[in-house]
């Protein structure tokens, strides 16, 4: 037994010393690398900043001529700028990347074995807003790695090519789909060109797809889709989808949304939907919504009365008058938010 303990003590001692030495080695190595990288990146970083300051009009040849090792050291800064810049400066920096062969390399990397390399390539292609990369990025929407799929969605959003909308929608119907909010944002970034596809997808059998398309249509301000969205609000089998329809009809602010929203304010419609409709009527901004909302100020369901009061506040003078006519806690809360200074003075 003593022998076993002796060996254990020796092994422990060895590992302890090794770990302590490892800490020192890692620390020294990091400092040396950081110093070398800082020295290599200093020149390119200055050139990059000057280039951006000139809005990309001068200095591109200098950036293209930077040696590869120095460019690699400055790459995080360059990529950071690429993600933040817009307009001419962005286009000029993209052109520098293209001349350095970054796009070609990234397109090749989309098929790399490593998920990290695929994701990095997708991120770069998105930052470059390279339309030629759309087919390759669409393939990544079904990648085996979840994070690669997420990066592909964001990259397609940045590129904003509406032709990718259908592939994006299809990727929502997988067993491990891309996140709804990311997909919605990307679809919105694709702009009005995606409206027809989104509107058609409101008949998709998958509830999640319908909900995403409703959100995207609402954010795009697709007033042409009001009729289809109203039909989803009235007829869909899934409550969450109907709630999304109510919210986005309110967001659209179109006259045609008024009656469908009023129609779902009362039982037997579910409380969640009724509350969403009450909120949406406030967002819609139509004075005609005042009487139906005022009728729900004493609703037995807290959320419905609460949303009705706050929607009336948002509807301006006619809504405020309705709040003043009724004396309950929800009305007092909503009215107080209009004049917090007055409440304080009291």
């Amino acid at each position: 037994m003593f022998a076993v303990f002796g060996v254990a003590i020796l092994v422990l001692l060895g590992v302890l010393v090794g770990t302590a030495a490892g800490i020192v080695v890692v620390r020294v190595g990091r400092r040396v690398r950081a110093k070398r990288r800082a020295s290599l990146a200093a020149g390119p970083r200055r050139a990059l900043l000057a280039f951006v300051a000139e809005n990309g009009e001068e200095g591109s040849e200098g950036l293209i001529a930077i040696p590869d090792d120095a460019w690699r050291a400055a790459l995080p800064a360059a990529l950071g700028l690429l993600g933040k810049l817009r307009g001419d400066a962005h286009a000029a920096l993209v052109s520098v990347f293209l001349h350095r062969g970054a796009a070609r390399a990234a397109l090749g990397e989309l098929h790399a074995r490593s998920a990290v390399r695929r994701a990095r390539a997708a991120q770069l292609l998105g930052d470059l807003e390279l339309r030629e990369a759309v087919p390759g990025l669409c393939e990544l929407l079904t990648d085996r790695d979840h994070e690669v799929r997420v990066v592909a969605v964001r990259a397609l959003g940045r590129i904003g090519e509406p032709r990718a909308a259908w592939r994006m929608i299809a990727s929502l119907d997988l067993r491990d789909p891309v996140p709804s909010l990311l997909a919605t944002h990307a679809l919105v970034q694709m702009g009005r060109g995606a409206e027809v596809t989104l509107s058609a997808a409101l008949d998709h059998p998958h509830a999640r797809v319908r909900a995403v398309c409703l959100d995207a249509l609402g954010l795009l301000g697709a007033t042409g889709a009001v009729g289809r969205m109203a039909r989803v609000l009235a007829e869909d089998d899934v409550l969450d989808v109907r709630v999304a329809a109510a919210t986005n009809l309110g967001r659209l602010g179109a006259r045609g949304a008024l009656q469908p929203l009023i129609d779902v304010l009362d039982p037997p419609h579910p409380d969640l939907l009724r509350a969403a409709a009450a909120r949406a009527l406030g967002a819609l901004g139509a004075p005609a919504a005042v009487p139906p909302l005022a009728a729900h100020l004493d609703d037995g369901e807290f959320q419905i009365a609460h949303e009705a009061a706050h929607s009336l506040r948002r509807l301006g003078p006619p809504g405020v008058a309705a709040l003043r006519d009724r004396d309950n806690d929800h009305c007092r809360e909503a009215l107080a938010l209009l004049h917090p200074d007055l409440v304080g003075a009291q």
Partner: protein
Amino acid sequence: MREVVLGVLRGADYAVFGYFVALNSSYLIMIVLASVEFAKHLRRAPFAGADDMFRSPLTLPVTVIVPAYNEGAGIVPAVQAMTALRYPRFEIVVVDDGSTDDTFEKLRAHFDLVEVPRVVPAEVPYQSHVLSVHVPRGDQGALTVVRKTNGGKADALNVGINLARHPLVCMVDADSVLDPDALLSVAKPFGDDPLRVAACGGVVRIANGCKVVAGRVVDVRMPGSWLVRIQVVEYLRAFLMSRTGWSRLGGVVVISGAFGVFRRDLLVQIGGMAHDTIGEDAELVVRLHHYLRDRGDDYRVIFVAEPVSWSEAPSNWKVLGYQRRRWHRGIAEILTKHRHMVFNPRYGRIGLVALPYYLIFELLAPFVELAALVLLPLGLWADAIDIGFAWRFALVAYGYGLLVSLVALFIEEVSFHRYPRWSDMLRGVVAAVFENFGYRQLLALWQVWGAFSAWHGRPAVWGTMDRTGFDTHEPTEVETVGIKGG
């Protein structure tokens, strides 16, 4: 007869030794799992999409709930710093839990608060009485301060949950200092995997000794006191590494009350924080698992290692004693309350791995540690073991513990490198050695005391945290911090 007694003593000593080896091996496994997770996190940081999330109009808004009881000394800078967090849309709800100091007066004076009528729903139960609700003059929605009668932290959080208007709820201690991107990081999993992520915890690190400027930790340093330095190493090993490891295994059962984000709808469904336990943060997570497993949901409770919430650790033995008794009492209460989940295959990894681990290696560890302190000398006195065995036993048991701490420091060095000074790292290594002489043993004593308090139903005592404050650098000019969110 004597031979039997000696045999039992010898057997007990070997069993204790085996327990120590198993305990430290489990820590080591968690650290290895954590290192895999850190490597993944760091390699993927460039394309994690934090900036996209910040810019997206669809990022889920968050309500930050700050329960405050007698926090007058630091409440204003704390709330100021929270208002400056980098997040597209959030509100802060400060719940003044019947403070007897000037907590509310300071808030009212600084943020120019005015009282507003507000209907407080009772979606989750609370036992106290809401006295008034206040918002800054002319700035609705970004900050809400609620005054209520004293009802404890859990009760204050429940009032905050009721008043929360956003789908995600972040619970933060009033004395915490958050990194600027902390909220973005801890809420990001909800955007990446919205259907499954139910809760996400963030790491809490020790702020003692760090330089804090305008509510931000700008210079990370080891604290001046050895007592706190030991806790720094302990936090690294037991919280950062262990919880990250559990996150990788899908077995997170503790999200610190000092920094965690939850889906509000789920909090409402499970009835919010429990009033009958002192470890309400961990109990909430266990109850969440219980509820979601019973419902058969596919869900995730996860832990992110960076960025962080910085918190002040006890700098004297008395306060540390209160804290550790409270923590262990919490573990005992939770495992007692949810005992039917332990070893129950219905609760998957939580029932079969995580909770049994907490029972065997968290709840029982101080009992075994104290037993070793008694059995080893007893075995020596009774000649059941000889002195050669005894010192080798102690050396291997404590040496293995030291190794685990050093590996944790090594992983910290490789991954986050938060302590850039050589002297700080050296102090960390020495603290890992010092931990074994007195600190662990005293801790075990307090923990056993805490567990017995739970089982005997003694009244829970929070104790008073003597705040020494952070090393702050006050700006020469008054900085105005705009309020975002809403």
